[in-house]
């Protein structure tokens, strides 16, 4: 019951925002318009799923933005020039993430500190690889991200695919359920004979995987990279998870909601553009939307408790 409510609010917020956008700019209600609105949502949705994997096990990742930037830099340089080496580097990054998860659990370190430290490592590496903006997207990636599927634009189809894949992985599958259990009560999972350190490594590894996908998708869209290209993803991804009905602790997350949350945040930026709001005010306005939605959720939950 509670989990059904959890998904309702993100859907309603997206629908309201979408309705308002169409009202302001009816021409957006087309294949091309939708693609334009949601184009940048794909990497954000992937990054949000990555963040969700970490929040699922009661941690938080402050290095995600820098990590996605680093991946983007590698994709625009090594993956394009020497695909095998590039691929190897990306795999190494995912493994590093998994190891980080294991270390954080084994030494009982606060994830917030470790990931904050790692964000400088990722940022430094990105600058090292690409000191000034540049690089080129591999052709196959470019064509994948600009593909024009029938009926719905790429951004919408990709979001649905991402949401479905994450839902099956986290909500329906056996290992996903146990991973959520780690967030809910790690002791009980351990008592049942699971190795929590491996599960945490898995959660972090999955976050690394989705982070890598986010960076690649971003380069596919932007065609080049820059060491600071995705720094804002850290906070956007956290906001997306929470907006999508997730909670910071207790393993309560919703992959579908997280993707919807990412779409809502992307749309909020476009909506404010349509309002002709000066960019100076946009960040504040985005924050206001976020606070409104979260306040609505709190009210819903109070009501839900009393009923």
């Amino acid at each position: 019951m509670a989990s059904h409510y959890r998904i309702l609010l993100p859907i309603v917020s997206l629908a309201v925002l979408l309705g308002a956008t169409f009202y302001m700019q009816p021409r957006a209600m087309s294949y091309f318009g939708l693609n334009l609105l949601f184009n940048l949502a794909v990497p954000i949705a992937l990054a949000t799923i990555a963040q969700m994997m970490i929040i699922m096990v009661n941690d938080i990742d402050l290095s995600l933005g820098a990590f996605v930037s680093l991946v983007a830099c590698i994709t625009a340089t090594y993956l394009n020039d020497a695909p095998l080496l590039g691929l190897l580097m990306l795999v190494a990054l995912i493994v590093t993430y998994a190891v980080l998860g294991a270390v954080i659990h084994a030494l009982a370190l606060p994830a917030i500190v470790v990931t904050l430290g790692m964000s400088f490592v990722w940022g430094g590496l990105a600058l090292f690889i690409l000191p000034s903006p540049g690089g080129t997207s591999p052709n196959w990636l470019r064509s994948l991200m600009t593909i024009k599927p029938p009926i719905a634009p790429m951004a919408v189809v990709a979001s649905i695919v991402i949401a479905a894949a994450a839902h099956i992985l986290i909500i329906r599958s056996r290992v996903g359920t146990v991973l959520r259990g780690v967030g809910g009560n790690a002791r009980s999972v351990e008592r049942a004979g699971w190795s929590v350190i491996r599960l945490k490594a898995l959660a972090y590894g999955l976050a690394g995987l989705f982070g890598v996908l986010a960076g690649m998708a971003l380069v596919g869209l932007a065609t080049s990279a820059d060491a600071n290209i995705a720094l804002r993803y850290t906070l956007i991804s956290i906001a997306g998870v929470i907006l999508g009905g997730g909670e910071f602790v207790g393993g309560k997350i919703s992959p579908v909601g997280a993707v919807i949350g990412a779409l809502t945040l992307t749309l909020a930026a476009s909506f404010l553009n349509f309002l002709r709001l000066s960019p100076d005010w946009q960040i504040g306005a985005q924050g206001t939307i976020l606070i409104l939605v979260l306040a609505a959720r709190l009210i819903f939950r109070r009501k839900g408790l009393e009923v």
Binding site: M1, A2, S3, R172, S173, R174, T177, V178, R180, G181, G183, G184, N185, R187, S188, V189, R191, A192, G193, W194, G250, G251, K252
Partner: protein, 474 residues
């Protein structure tokens, strides 16, 4: 089957477990075979939880041996445990919780099958339970959660439960449901299973166990068939002398003016101990919570609070798990000693030290983390926290779940003492024995007060009568 009778499911030989200098278990030899139902009793900190953790593989012994029916793996031997502090994942459904401990679930289609499995188990143990298995655990009541946890313990889970360890399984269940559980345990043992039953409710131990093991300070001090124990003998073996409850206490006590009056009919006078009774989950906890919230403010926390609260679900709304014992006690009095918004650390330390002695918290140093204490001692910390505050009204939501008899006697005495000084207590309890300590008792049924009993009227029969009366008609 034949083999089962020779090889015990689990056998410990001189098992010892030390935590630093603390000898939690000091050489235990015990063996459990099929058909056994062992009652394990002992006061708080006697080593019961450690013993359970050795048997279920959560800890390994410092010295000595532990052997299972087929090798060294407790899971393979069919050993299951149901813990005192509810240990399900609150964000998962009952079926998903079963999956966490299910070793042989197929990757697909498990949701429905496991839902059925846990439901079947619930149906067989608690007929007519009405628990939903498709909702997240944290939306269930504490009794329902306990029922789900027990059901998961007995569920097949791809193999077969051979030995189920139940640690205070009935402490949050009401009498009727507890009886269903006891009946199931008897049936389970008759069918060749084994149970280790840990409870502070001695009547239950006597009614279900065929052998009783008494632990004291990490050692087995007595192990005999149930029939060889008398209730008094058992209590003596545990090392606590329970003075017979002084009948009706002193009726001559004078109470002050009425200090609590709710529109539900609940009232209390100054210096009175008022009990809330009835079957578990009939609105007592909600009545107390309403009272507490109406008398306290979320905005101001003045220097002189009117009400303090002793939580029953100490994991959820009691202890601050990351803090020391000292800080857990002193949180209620930070305001009183604070000057210019700064905490008076010296005074807090002396208060905590004082309560450590007065209520007997078993620790060398109050600066130890609160989680280093056993469950009953954690509860004592919560009592200290409430009683250290100057609030004239103390609200207690079934605070003695899983607390041993000795501690209970200490706390009863302390409550009487504090009441004499003019404090008022509102006390919800699922145990009739505790309710009989009260000056006045309100019995709840279906969220309403169904009877008000005073003095000599407070008897188990009268309370049961008021709890059940119309139950059959509805």
């Amino acid at each position: 089957m034949n083999e089962n009778e020779i090889v015990p499911i689990v056998a410990l030989t001189k098992a010892k477990k030390h935590f630093g200098a603390v000898r939690a278990l000091d050489g235990i030899s015990i063996s459990v075979g099929s058909g056994d139902c062992i009652g394990l009793v002992g006061h708080n900190g006697a080593g019961k939880s450690t013993l359970v953790n050795l048997i279920n593989g959560g800890l390994s012994p410092t010295e000595g041996r532990i052997e299972f029916a087929n090798g060294t793996d407790p899971h393979a031997a069919g050993v299951r445990s149901v813990f005192q502090e509810l240990s399900l994942c609150p964000n998962l459904t009952a079926a998903e919780n079963l999956l966490v401990s299910h070793k042989a679930a197929a990757p697909f289609g498990w949701r429905k099958r496991l839902g059925k499995e846990v439901l079947a188990s619930l149906d067989s143990i608690f007929p007519g339970h009405g628990v939903r298995v498709d909702v997240e655990i944290d939306t269930l009541s504490i009794a329902e959660r306990q029922m789900v946890e027990i059901a998961i313990g007995f569920a097949p889970r791809g193999s077969e439960a051979r030995l189920v360890i139940l640690d205070e399984p009935t402490s949050s269940l009401d009498a009727g449901i507890a009886q269903q559980l006891l009946a199931h345990i008897r049936q389970f043992c008759a069918d060749g299973g084994a149970v280790i039953f840990i409870s502070h409710m001695l009547a239950e131990v006597f009614s279900v166990a065929n052998r009783i093991v008494v632990l004291k300070d990490g050692k087995v001090v007595a192990e005999k068939p149930t029939a060889a124990f008398s209730r008094q003998g058992l209590v003596d073996a545990m090392g606590h002398v329970t003075g017979e409850t002084e009948g009706g206490a002193d009726l001559e006590r004078k109470f002050g003016p009425v200090v609590v009056q709710t529109n539900q009919g609940l009232s209390a006078r100054q210096g009175e101990i008022v009990g809330l009774s009835g079957l578990a989950g009939h609105g007592q906890a909600a009545a107390l919570a309403r009272l507490y919230l109406s008398r306290s403010s979320a905005w101001r926390s003045g220097k002189n609070p009117e009400v303090v609260f002793v939580a029953g679900d100490r994991q959820r709304d009691g202890i601050l798990p990351l803090w020391s014992i000292l800080r857990n006690v002193s949180i209620s009095i930070l305001q009183q000693g604070a000057r210019w918004g700064l905490v008076d650390a010296k005074r807090d330390a002396s208060v905590a030290e004082d309560w450590k002695h007065r209520i007997g918290i078993r620790t060398d140093d109050v600066r130890n983390p609160v989680l280093s204490l056993s469950g009953g001692n954690q509860q004592k910390v919560l009592f200290s926290r409430a009683l250290a505050s100057p609030a004239p009204i103390v609200v207690m939501d079934d605070p003695m779940r899983g607390v041993d008899i000795g501690t209970k006697q200490d706390v009863y005495a302390m409550l009487r003492n504090e009441a004499q000084k003019g404090r008022t207590f509102l006390w919800y309890s699922t145990e009739t024995e505790e309710v009989c300590q009260c000056d006045r008792v309100f019995v709840f049924r279906d969220g309403e007060i169904s009877a008000e009993l005073t003095g000599a009227e407070i008897t188990e029969e009268r309370i049961l009568e008021a709890s059940f009366q119309m139950q059959e008609a509805s």
